[in-house]
């Protein structure tokens, strides 16, 4: 513990540390800087013409500070060859680099406790001991053993892995000793402390019972062979692991999740949806009703999605849910949900109407027809223009072949451009035009997206994992017109990040906006654990009401503007 290097940036103005990246096009929102900062990674999906289902579903990425130096590092999941006897010679797209393993990149923005003033990344996979060779799908981050170092849980089509951060730049695979093994097709996962015992528990969503040995052959309506959908397979059970402390977990899914019925789970997010002080779990299922597991004071979970209005769309139709994020887009002080879907469906906005009851307000807020032609996976709420209202980024890429591309003999005819939607002060959303979001018009098969302030400049940047394509690092280039607040919420003793903490911006006791800590959401990815929002008007009248994961509450004045501030729980037990 004593060796931890708490980030210097938490007490210094980040403008001083901000890397200098030119913004030649002042109108652009994002710039893809992956290549110029040394983030060289190309996802390998191992496709060999067999149309194996997993090859077009992965993968995700994580933004996390593995070396506690105060900047976000990057973990990217990699695929592998699928099918018995297949070698990389059989791959339609050869791997860009070998060995074909997940990659860990260290952010050199801060080095030896000092700012280098330059955003750059170094591949430290080999040194870290991380040699994940399976078929990577998703990742979540959290300090499961309260040692102050962020650990990884990696899901795969195959065996999942809990990777303990040893605090010295290396990781150890502790899956077996921790009893967190799951050999199903894992997708998104989330760490949460559902029973308030101070130890992070783990929820793992699983997809369908696909096997390369029993690969179904599926066809498009045109009769051309195509990828299968989840309806061709049996949905798998998700798993909830209770952290017993001491590095061990116990699976409690059957005991705690009442009347569980398997769905084809792809996305997971945790938040206190009904505002009763206990963290809940939302699972986005592909083609089946979504689940909203309401926490019954740590004793059990009851799926209330149907009555809550978040299981299906307003017409009662279960949609092909992939990614999910939660945010208070209308600034009414409670969490709202956004779920991404297949083309031919809309993405869906579930607005929280209070008491944990939601309404599908997709069309009302103008998010309907614009998403109809796209298949979306990763997504996130982000206030890209720092106007105080949460905007939406959606990452697109089809799952079955797009006819015009296939007809042109495109070798991987699934790619689509991404989209950015601007929040019009809570009254609706409008799609940002491509001139202001140039890297988004690049057509890739985007899947996972992790959101975080990679350059510590007070806005959210985006790491995108493109299936069978290069990773993109979209740096937010919008010039700051307003101050901002950056928070890191940590435990009293262990000083680990505290996912599940709720922050309410209040004025005269009235909740004006809701935020949460947590790295889950999007698709198969892990986000920056910090909270970032625009500095409010009339700051002297405002305060922060903090509800910690153990249920205790405290009120704090607004922290200084335009810097990150660490807030430690005052009287926590852990």
């Amino acid at each position: 513990m004593s060796s931890r290097r708490h980030g210097l940036f938490f007490c210094l103005c980040c403008w001083l540390l901000c890397p200098v990246l030119s913004t030649a096009d002042n109108e652009a929102v994002f710039k893809d800087v992956a290549e110029e900062v040394g983030l060289i990674f190309v996802h390998f999906n191992g496709m060999s013409g067999q149309h194996y289902f997993p090859e077009m579903t992965g993968a995700g990425a994580a933004l996390f500070d593995f070396d506690n130096d105060g900047d976000l590092d990057i973990y990217l999941l990699q695929g592998s060859m699928l099918g018995p006897g297949k070698t990389i010679e059989d791959a339609l797209f050869p791997p860009a680099a070998t060995p074909i393993v997940d990659r860990l990149f260290r952010n050199e923005l801060i080095s030896n406790g000092k700012s280098t003033g330059k955003l750059s990344f170094r591949d430290v996979t080999k040194q870290s001991g991380l040699l994940m060779t399976g078929y990577g799908m998703g990742v979540t981050t959290g300090d499961y053993n309260n040692d102050g170092w962020t650990d990884l849980y990696v899901t795969q089509y195959g065996s999942n892995h809990l990777l303990r951060n040893n605090g010295n730049g290396t990781f150890s695979d502790v899956t077996e000793s921790s009893h967190t093994m799951d050999e199903q097709w894992g997708t998104s996962a989330a760490f949460l402390d559902y029973d308030r015992d101070g130890w992070l528990d783990l929820y793992v969503s699983n997809y369908v019972d696909f096997s390369v040995l029993k690969n179904n052959t599926c066809y498009a309506k045109s009769s051309r062979q195509d990828y299968c959908g989840p309806a061709s397979f049996i949905a798998l059970h998700d798993r909830l692991f209770h952290n017993l402390g001491g590095g061990e977990f116990e699976e409690v899914s059957d005991q705690l999740m009442m009347n569980y019925q398997a769905g084809a789970g792809l996305g997971v997010i945790t938040a206190d949806f009904n505002q009763d002080g206990w963290i809940d779990i939302y699972v986005a299922n592909d083609g089946q009703a979504n689940q909203m597991w309401i926490n019954q004071k740590g004793k059990k979970f009851v799926n209330n999605a149907l009555y809550a209005g978040t299981a299906v769309n307003i017409q009662g139709r279960a949609e092909a849910s992939m990614g999910v994020d939660v945010g208070d887009f209308d600034r009414d002080g409670d969490p709202d949900l956004f779920i991404t879907h297949l083309m031919g469906e809309t993405n869906t906005l579930y607005s929280n109407e209070g008491r944990g009851l939601f309404e599908d307000r997709t069309l009302f807020y103008g998010l309907g027809s614009s998403s109809f032609p796209y298949t979306t996976f990763g997504t996130g709420w982000l206030d890209y223009d720092n106007d105080g209202w949460l905007d939406l980024l959606v990452l697109n890429g089809a799952v079955t072949e797009l006819e015009p591309l296939a007809n042109k003999k495109d070798p991987y005819p699934l790619h689509q451009p991404n989209q950015l939607f601007h929040n019009e002060a809570g009254k609706g959303f409008s799609e940002a035009n491509y001139a202001t979001s140039s890297p988004l018009k690049d057509s890739y098969v985007s899947r996972g997206a992790a959101f975080g302030d990679i350059d510590n400049d007070g806005d959210l940047d985006v790491l995108i994992l493109n299936n069978n394509g290069p990773a993109q690092l979209l740096l937010n280039l919008v010039s700051k017109t307003r101050d901002w607040i950056g928070l890191r919420l940590t435990a009293t003793k262990s000083r680990r990040d505290l996912p599940g903490t709720e922050i309410f911006l209040t004025q005269a006791g009235k909740k004006q906006q809701w935020f949460r800590t947590g790295t889950d959401g999007s698709y198969c990815s892990a986000n920056d654990p910090r909270v970032l929002f625009t500095y409010p008007d009339h700051p002297q009248e405002k305060s922060l009401q903090i509800r910690w994961p153990d249920g205790s509450q405290e009120t704090r004045p607004l922290p200084p503007a335009s810097q990150y501030t660490e807030i430690r729980q005052t009287d926590g037990n852990y």
Partner: protein, 550 residues
Amino acid sequence: MNPMSHVTKLYRTISILFVLSTFVGVINAAETSLSPAVEGVEIVEHANALLDLPEQDLSTLEPAVAEQLEKSRDLLDDLISKHQNNRDLADAYGELGKLYHAYELNLGAEICYRNARSLDLNQFQWTYYLAHLYLNSGRPLEALELYQQIEAVHPQPALLRTRIGETYHALNRLAEARQSYLQAFYLRPESPAILARLGELAVEEKQYRTAISFLAAALTSQPDANRLHYPLAMAYRGLHNTEQAIDHLRQRGSVGIQPYDPWIEDLDNLLQGERSYLLRGKLAYSAARYEESIEAFRTALSFNKDSARAHINLGTALMQTGNTEEAFEHQLKALALEPDNLTIHYNLGFLYMNSGKYQDAISHLERVTTSNTEDASAYLLLAQALEKNLSIEEAMEVYRKTVLLDPTIENAWLGGVRLLLQNGEYGKALGVLNQARKNLPNNGLIVHAMAKLLAASPDKSIRDGQRALPLALTVFKASPSTGHARTVAMAYAESGECSEAAKWQQRSIDALNKSNEVMKTKMQAELKHYKTSNPCNFPTDAASNDNPGP
């Protein structure tokens, strides 16, 4: 065997067998993007301005489909070369557009429809098809413009009003959507689709009472459209009527309402080929329209008589209609085509099992479990076949393997328990039930079996009234029935509360079907025992004659 388990198994079988993804159609239907060269081309009536049709890569399509598309394209090219008049050429483009549209080759469909419109604007059907294509491709503004062009000439049809309403709805122009739907409603007030649209729109507008009126009327008109129960539930929820909301949520399903649209339905009639009919068969099967699915699978076979999938699925559908003989015939034909296909072996195992030919069933199912050692469903069926074949020890072992593979299969746990009870191994049976309950804590059958064994086991040493009673009461509360009330009585008796036992036994007798005289006599004797004996524990001799377990 529980008849419901047949359904489950058949569904499992068919869900594995059917190889056509349910969503691929939707996906490709939504594909719209045009190349820059196509976008922005002005539609003019002169043939010289016609858009070039893209060359379709037919090599990857099913031969019957490729041939159909090729012939239609050749026909068009022939007409073009003969410089036919615009009307005939427009029809040829339009018909080819429909064919592309049916196969979700939407780029070709769009160009065909646009050319047809260029050649003959008076034929509004091509405009209608193009508008439908746009609306279902996320291009509602373009769809609206086209629908309005038709409306200017043909203002009356309710269907057109409904489509315009749907388009406004997609554009979130709710007031205009409502107006269009209402115009359609005045023209066809009995249409459940229009009522449903009005109801759904009212939910979005938070006009909950209006929504309830329209949705309830739609459901009265078309009760099987059970998806409407969901918006109806949301409307009741909006009015804080929780009871009605929950009641409608319980009734909700997946069947929605589409307006009757002969033009769009006509597109499906253009589809040819084995794969198309396999998909039709699957959809009909999923909706329990077995005769229709059989017809579709037979047509699929007419395109490819050696289609193992068509034989397998036809056999499965025939099973549902009770035509076992022909079901066997098609599964065996499939087996001849694909002797190593484990699904066929599973299906034959199932058919032989239900025909009482247990040895044959065992033979096919062992083929499955030998090749796929993780197929828990096959293990379960094998265990059941072995049990029927009186190979008790082997059956027990296979039940054990089944729960190791999938501890959530209740029938595997209960099968093992049943064999142990038959063998008089009550203590072991209780041990298995304990394990089962750990894996399936909320399973009523397992909890009931446990309660009954603890309350009335022939082996008195394992009885435990204090444990049995809460279990029995829990089961009764969740599912009140004569049998469950009788188990509560047994548990009270074992707990020494004879008057309570008698009360519950009387309750059980009162609820008993009057025609069940044998059971009634037996239960009255038990009641007398509870009333007259002290202690009044369920007698061991009666317990031996009563099935203490599942």
